[in-house]
């Protein structure tokens, strides 16, 4: 049985305090304790990227992050993007450009795209591809995802 430690962190703008096991991953904390199931477990080895969240603005693998090591950080999960049901431009772009298929990789993909555009608002296609290179998708073949990001950068969705 693992010891438990009290941590505090911000999740989608809300300050949270909770007890976590010392060996608890951020992915487990998000899904099991916060019931924020938008962040997905695809491989639990840090390869597929379905567990991508933003920690202090940077994309990280939630499955490779220990909750205890994320104390005093600001997390953004996929649930934190839309406000009052209104989608952010990147989300609208994904929808309108036809990016999601089975959807399982999309939480990570959208956040990786957001992180990219936050640091590089006018990327080239190559830069978009580089920025998304850590998110595996088995359905789409990636082209429409790139189109959605480029369209967002071009301001097509606000």
């Amino acid at each position: 049985m693992s010891t438990k430690i009290q941590i505090q962190l911000q999740v989608n703008g809300e300050a949270r305090e909770l007890l976590v096991r010392t060996d608890e991953t951020l992915l487990e904390t998000l899904r099991d304790q916060f019931q924020l199931t938008g962040t997905k477990r695809g491989c639990n080895q840090g390869v597929c990227g379905a567990c991508t969240v933003l920690r202090d603005g940077e994309p990280v693998r939630a499955c490779l992050s220990l909750a205890v090591n994320s104390t005093d950080t600001e997390l953004t999960t996929i649930e934190g993007l839309a406000t009052n049901g209104e989608l952010q431009p990147i989300q609208q772009a994904f929808v309108a450009e036809g990016a999601p298929q089975c959807g399982f990789c999309m939480s990570g993909m959208v956040l990786a795209a957001k992180a990219l555009l936050d640091t590089n608002p006018n990327p080239t296609i190559d830069e978009v591809r580089e920025g998304l290179s850590g998110n595996l998708c088995r359905c789409t073949g990636y082209v429409k995802v790139v189109d959605a990001v480029m369209a967002t950068a071009a301001g097509k969705y606000g």
Partner: protein, 769 residues
């Protein structure tokens, strides 16, 4: 036709897109039920062994463990769609490394996994057979000694480890070889691969107070899953309900996803039980695509006319049959490719081995033979000095031809697909690019492919509500293809309403209709057909009721856009669908409900012309699908690395239902095909999977495939499907494999016969040259 079809072909976003970009889509692991337990399974360490004893007492005693079960706790029953050869927990014998032997339900997953380590099982190792050729030998250990006792539901002959033998032939091979000026012979191999859906398999089961089991599952077929639970636990189907959650990809690997084990634990504990595979477990114990050895011999005349093709395939089915027999059925029907070849013989032997079960993974029986056939055709073209596109056009099957001399092919699109690629501006200018960098070689390859769609039974129900909206039930599972949206579009188009007015019901075995499952490109064409027919019945009832209300004959009425009925030629009065439906309920003929169900009419084979074994003189499926692919690759001469640089996909979909959906399937299939061609292989080390992780088994990431993938969507309608639409899910994955093989030959004058076409394999050939 009165259907308003401007919704057909539009680029409507999927009806489920919003939930997928906000993280609110509910996949099975996102479900929580009160008092839920977590399950884990123990896998066999041996490829073939007898279970001598099993002691679970220590495991059961671990605090937090609520149940430990083995086959001893279950009825003596097997599952299997084609033959019931598979226990849900190994009974007496284990047949592959990782086969589940025991299962635990506990308060947490960590406790369940700890309990697994406390289970003591004594095995007696048995000789294992790990390759299908060895398995065919008469002295090979038998994977299923009691095969004769199983309920086998297909007629192809079985013998020893050979699960099925299927053959189709026409003409006469000896005549064919005599008439050929050139004959090419070769052997090709393709390895087992894993579908690598990003969401691993999983199920959540619970039992209600009346003993009815409900299972939520990441399954491609709620009815196969229902049958698995019912059969293995000896429960009547009326006591089992299966609901499909949102599915994170299937690709043919999720016909049933461990629901039965979850259900068994739920019954044993009387609590909900969730069982989710880890990536490693999924790769070790779920499903793979058949490894294959393809021996092919092709004969042609000097002018490039194909005369004769003989194909013999050995498929490795792994330890359990699953949907194996259906795979070679497609192989023997289509190994010759989309060409007129008068003398043909296709044979497929599907063989049990002590490895992971193989099944109808995307590329359903054709991807392996297509690799061989389209490679050999290029070899012939090269030897005869004929352009690869020309030789394909020359031999292509044409509208009205008969497949194998038996099956009419109303629409044969190989020629227009190839011409679409040839006429594409980027293809035309392909040699006008910048010079190849030193140390690199550039090559182009083409291929033409065929697939077959629709299988077994489907049904649909459309019910009109009092506000004019409809509820559509099909039980067909959208595994990511966009079928939910397409089917809703078909329904909406038939009735002239907006797609927002279609309430699509979650696939549910309690839902009132039946569907075989997501497979064989059957969604748009076959299930869509049922939707169309059901919607037409609703239309009839609307007109009948409206006729009563307007006091005129139904044939004088018409449907109008946005849910209205009026008299032809008379603008007013108009009735709204909702009013008609409401009146029906309380004052009229009853609820407006349209239902339709049917089984696909498989195509008969004329035994005079088409000789066959194991096919019941029938070719399963209802229509053919055609495509052509081309690709540009670059080879690094120093390492042999093959990089796909640009792609061309020409697919004839008959009629686009959803433009975004069709486009997504084409590109997605292309990229998956690149994975099969260059990267993917399940590697076994003496029966144990050596690469059960995404670290070690690579699928294409965005930087492994080009952005420049050109899509040419052709629309030559099929006669008897909704708006002429055909399926394409399986079709789009086959092309890149031989196209890349042909491109490598074009670039470096070496030919690979084995997949994947790794840098190592290419470099060896380059050095040998």
């Amino acid at each position: 036709m009165n259907a308003m079809d401007d919704i057909i072909g539009s680029a409507l976003p999927r009806i489920d897109s919003n939930e997928k970009v906000t993280g609110s889509a509910v996949y099975v692991d996102d479900l929580y039920r009160p008092h839920m337990l977590h399950a884990a399974r123990l896998g066999s360490p041996y490829a073939h062994a007898r279970i001598l004893s099993c002691d679970v007492t220590t495991a059961r005693a671990l605090p937090g463990v609520k149940s430990v079960i083995t086959a001893a706790d279950l009825p003596d029953r097997n599952i299997g769609v084609a033959v019931d050869d598979e226990p849900i927990l190994a009974r007496g014998i284990v047949r592959y490394v990782g086969e589940p032997v025991a299962a635990v339900a506990a308060d947490t997953l960590a406790i369940a996994q700890a309990a697994l380590r406390l289970i003591e099982i004594e095995y007696q190792e048995l000789p294992a057979v790990l390759d299908p050729v060895a398995a065919l030998a008469s002295d090979s250990p038998l994977v299923h000694e009691n095969f004769a006792d199983y309920d086998k539901r297909f007629s192809a002959p079985s013998d020893g480890n050979m699960l099925s033998l299927m053959e189709v032939a026409t003409g006469d091979l000896e005549t064919g070889w005599r008439e050929s000026d050139i004959i090419i012979e070769g052997e090709f191999t393709t390895p087992a691969i894993h579908p690598q859906y990003i969401e691993p398999c999983g199920a959540l089961a619970e039992v209600d107070g009346n003993g009815k089991v409900t299972v939520w599952s990441s399954t491609q077929s709620v009815f196969i899953s229902q049958a698995d639970v019912s059969r293995s636990l000896d429960l009547p189907l009326s006591k089992v309900r299966c609901i499909a959650t949102r599915i994170g990809g299937g690709f043919g690997g999720k016909q049933g996803a461990n629901e039965a084990v979850a259900a068994a634990l739920a019954i044993a504990t009387n609590r909900p039980v969730k069982l989710i595979m880890s990536r490693e477990e999924d790769m070790i114990s779920m499903r793979s695509r058949h490894a294959a050895i393809i021996r092919m011999k092709t004969g042609a005349k000097r002018d490039g006319t194909l005369v004769c093709r003989e194909t013999e395939v050995i498929f490795d089915a792994g330890a359990y049959c699953d949907l194996s027999p259906f795979v070679p059925m497609y192989t023997v029907m289509m190994a010759q490719g989309p060409y007129r070849i008068p003398h043909l013989s296709n044979t497929a032997r599907t063989v049990y081995t002590n490895r992971l079960r193989a099944t109808s993974i995307r590329g359903f029986g054709t991807i392996q033979a297509t690799f061989a056939g389209e490679s050999q055709l290029d070899e012939i073209a090269h030897k005869l000095g004929i352009d690869p596109i020309d030789i394909r056009i020359k031999n292509a099957i044409r509208d009205g031809d008969k497949w194998f001399g038996s099956i009419p092919v109303p629409v044969a699109s190989t020629v227009p697909c190839l011409e679409a690629i040839r006429n594409h501006p980027r293809w035309q200018s392909r040699h006008q690019q910048d010079a190849v960098k030193p140390g690199k070689r550039r090559g182009f390859g083409v291929c033409a492919t065929v697939q077959r769609g629709s299988v077994f039974s489907a049904s649909a129900q459309v019910r009109m509500s009092e506000d004019g909206s409809v509820t559509l039930t099909t039980a067909y599972v959208d595994i990511g293809s966009g079928s939910d949206t397409a089917l809703a579009q078909i329904c909406a188009a038939e009735l002239g309403i907006s797609i927002d007015q279609v309430n699509l019901v979650t696939p549910d075995s309690d839902g009132g209709v039946y569907d075989f499952g997501t497979a064989a490109d059957r969604g748009t064409s076959q299930v869509g057909h049922e939707v169309q027919k059901a919607a037409l019945k609703v239309r009839e009832q609307l007109l009948e009721y409206a006729g009563e209300m307007l006091e005129c004959a139904p044939q004088d009425l018409e449907l109008r856009p946005r849910g209205k009925v009026g008299i032809k030629g008379v603008p007013q009065p108009e009735l709204g669908f909702g009013d008609i439906a409401a009146r029906g309920l309380y004052a009229g003929g009853g609820p407006i409900i349209g239902t339709h169900s049917s089984r696909v009419k498989d195509s008969p084979l004329d035994p005079e012309v088409t000789r066959s074994v194991g096919m019941d003189n029938v070719a399963m499926g209802a229509h053919f699908e055609f495509a052509a692919h081309a690709i540009e690759i670059e080879i690094d001469e120093a390492t042999g690395q093959v990089t796909p640089v640009e792609g061309w996909c020409a697919i004839d979909v008959g009629r686009v239902i959803n433009a975004l959906g069709a486009d997504g399937q084409i590109v997605g299939g292309f990229v998956q095909g690149v994975g099969t061609a260059l990267l993917e292989e399940l590697v076994w080390d003496d029966g144990r999977l050596a690469n059960p992780s995404l670290m070690d088994y690579k699928i294409p990431g965005i930087l492994d495939v080009p952005y420049d993938i050109h899509r040419m969507v052709l629309e030559n309608p099929e006669p008897d499907t909704p708006w002429g639409a055909r399926g394409m899910g399986d079709l789009c994955i086959n092309g890149p494999v031989p196209a890349i093989a042909n491109a490598i030959t074009d670039a470096a004058n070496v030919r690979l016969h084995d997949l994947p076409m790794t840098a190592e394999r290419v470099l060896r050939l380059l050095i040998e040259k």
